[in-house]
């Protein structure tokens, strides 16, 4: 999309004015340098396309990690009216409740560095990618999967994966209400049964990082984070079950789009009114798939904890592993937000965007009530990741949402070309990151140069006042599916 019509509202905010079939303007958070990158692909056109969805409120929003996706841009946020608006499976994506969790430990980075190969190898062996293979846990029956879909992370805890206290630190306590296992297809059950406790491929990973910088000592201390200590990031989602739910419901909503006379500029934006049977069914299925993802990350957390204990031969007490937060960044949620001075029920689609509720939100555990919700922003595997917290301004401007990562800037195709003839594992190891990867092409496609500068992305949201920077992490070891 050309920059014709793009208006700069402030140093970090741009607007695509309402034009043609757009129902609302588009708004993009970006520095000038990031906007120059954003304009190189079709993501701004996608922001304008999303602005055409019936019932969309205020703006079609995009975070600074925005890039060209399918239908919605990755990094897109759209809130639709819960009574009059639509829900779009393309606004959630194939990997429903793809998300990130962060675990803290009592391990010092100096202690871990000489042992990193041992730990990464242990994680690589104990956490299967699940591609063409099965999960680390027994194959589930249909009724087991149904329980996972209804209970989410609680199912994992009840089956011995982690502690009950973990639920406090998961978005929605690891379980979305209103999940409906009856609208999940047999195909989705088939795909989901063997894959619980698997990482997947693509950009999914487990990353061991050192806390390299603290920007707010007070909040970091309350979260249990101290410079020089080790944390673990997990990035994965609902695996084949979620992909199948999305596939199934794009078909349903393609028909619904025609049935309800809705016009969308891209088949992948197919949608259904939230108050229609099709809309309700998708919401129930999407919530069920989201719960599968919460359970998946809970199981993987537990596998990580036991691998660390075994590899290092230490007690759970010495390890001190504890969940800081678990967020969803591909999801649609019914939430209440202030719109034009009035409380309004909306359906917030976050496609490659993170919830970022500010202090005082009733959805946060007491410990985080004054801090705001932790926002986890992993970068690429070679550079750095961040923890931020949500702000009141996020509640006012972005329906309590922020960025979810660095965001790709280079196509997989180009990144792979650039990686040809290079020993990527060695390059990363020389940079202090020991990596093991299952998917050989994935590794080349996910190299740091394929991504935007995550610091620039995070700083944009910090300067815009949407999220506040708390800590930075440098990777030490990574497993990729």
């Amino acid at each position: 999309m050309s920059n014709e019509g793009l208006i700069r509202k402030s140093a970090y905010l741009w607007e695509i004015p309402k034009a043609g079939p757009m129902r609302v303007p588009g708004r993009i958070y970006a520095s000038e340098a990031l906007m120059n990158q954003i304009q190189q692909d079709e993501s701004l056109k996608q922001v304008a396309n999303v602005a055409q969805l019936p019932g969309i409120i205020k703006y079609s929003l995009a975070m600074p990690d925005i890039h060209w996706g399918y239908g919605f841009p990755i990094g897109g946020v759209a809130a639709t009216d819960a009574a009059q608006g639509v829900i779009s499976p393309g606004g959630v994506g194939y990997d429903i409740n793809c998300g990130v969790r962060l675990l803290r430990t009592d391990l010092n980075a100096e202690f871990i560095r000489p042992r990193i190969k041992n730990i990464v190898t242990g994680l690589f062996n104990n956490i299967p990618s699940g591609v063409g293979s099965h999960g680390a846990i027994r194959r589930l029956s249909r009724s087991d999967v149904q329980k996972v879909l209804l209970k989410g992370a609680r199912w994992a805890i009840e089956n011995g994966y982690g502690a009950g206290n973990d639920l406090r630190y998961i978005e929605d306590k690891g379980c979305l209400d209103g999940a409906d296992p009856d609208v999940i297809s047999q195909r989705a059950y088939q795909r989901g049964a063997p894959q619980l406790g698997t990482l997947g491929s693509g950009n999914h990973f487990v990353e061991i990082s050192e806390i390299s910088d603290i920007y707010d000592e007070n909040i970091a201390r309350q979260l249990g984070l101290e410079k020089g200590y080790i944390v673990v990031f997990i990035h994965t989602g609902s695996r084949g079950l979620g992909y199948q739910v999305c596939d199934d419901f794009i078909k349903v909503t393609l028909q619904a789009t025609a049935k309800y006379g809705i016009s969308v500029p891209d088949r992948q934006l197919a949608c259904a009114p939230l108050n229609s049977q099709e809309g309700r069914d998708y919401l129930g299925a999407m919530r069920a798939a989201a719960n599968y993802a919460f359970a998946n990350r809970q199981v993987i957390s537990s596998l990580i904890e036991s691998t660390f204990q075994k590899s290092l031969n230490i007690s759970p007490n010495d390890l001190g592993m504890r969940l800081i937060w678990d967020i969803a960044h591909n999801i649609a949620k019914i939430e209440t937000h202030m719109v034009g001075g009035k409380r309004r029920k909306v359906c917030v689609h976050r496609k490659g965007a993170t919830r970022a509720f500010g202090p005082g939100s009733p959805d946060l555990p007491d410990e985080y009530h004054l801090i705001g919700q932790p926002v986890l922003i992993p970068g690429d595997m070679g550079t750095e990741s961040y923890l931020c917290v949500g702000t009141q301004k996020a509640m006012e401007e972005t329906f309590g949402s922020s960025c979810h990562g660095a965001g790709r800037v280079m196509s997989r195709h180009k990144a792979k070309k650039k990686s040809m003839g290079r020993n990527l594992f060695k390059e990363l190891e020389n940079a202090g990151v020991f990596v093991m990867a299952e998917g050989k092409a994935t590794m080349a496609e996910e190299m740091p140069y394929a991504y935007k500068n995550v610091t620039e992305v995070v700083n944009t949201m910090h300067q815009a006042g949407i999220t506040k920077k708390i800590a930075r992490f440098k990777p030490v070891g990574v497993i990729k599916g």
Binding site: Y94, G132, A270, R412, K440
Partner: protein, 139 residues
């Protein structure tokens, strides 16, 4: 990458362009391209076969259904496609015999997992002596 397909730039996922002399070969080449993006197709042997049949409203949706079906087969049974014999097809229906083998970790180097075949910018163009398809795979 093989001569029967090319990749085009898409920032987050994988854009694939396939050419063939007719529609039947186009569907075959699209299937083989997908296998080759998961693992080197030269390593996939013709060990067994099965029949796949799908229907859709038009040729573009049919291509998506076809690839989606093969992906589902891989994800649930590990079956990798090495060759395709399209038995019968129209713009709304395709029936084919697919040949191939089970994925084996030791034999097949996994390149990447394909999550799904998207509808975004999905295109099938049939001309007198050439058929072309463009589709984007979610990675």
């Amino acid at each position: 990458m093989r001569p029967f397909y090319q990749l085009f730039d898409h920032t987050s996922d994988l854009g694939v362009q396939v050419r063939a002399e007719d529609l039947k070969s186009l569907f075959k080449n699209a299937a083989l391209a997908m296998t080759d993006l998961m693992t080197d197709i030269k390593t996939v042997r013709n060990q067994s076969d099965r029949i796949v049949e799908v229907e859709a409203e038009n040729i573009e949706l049919l291509l998506r259904e076809w690839l989606g079906e093969l992906l589902f087969t891989f994800h649930t049974t590990g079956f990798l496609v090495s060759d395709v014999d399209v038995l019968d097809m129209s713009d709304k229906h395709v029936k084919a015999k697919i040949f191939g083998e089970q994925y084996q970790k030791k034999r097949h180097v996994l390149q990447r997992e394909i999550k799904s075949v998207t509808y975004h910018q999905l295109k099938v163009i049939v001309e007198e002596h050439e058929a072309t398809a463009r589709f984007i795979l979610d990675i």
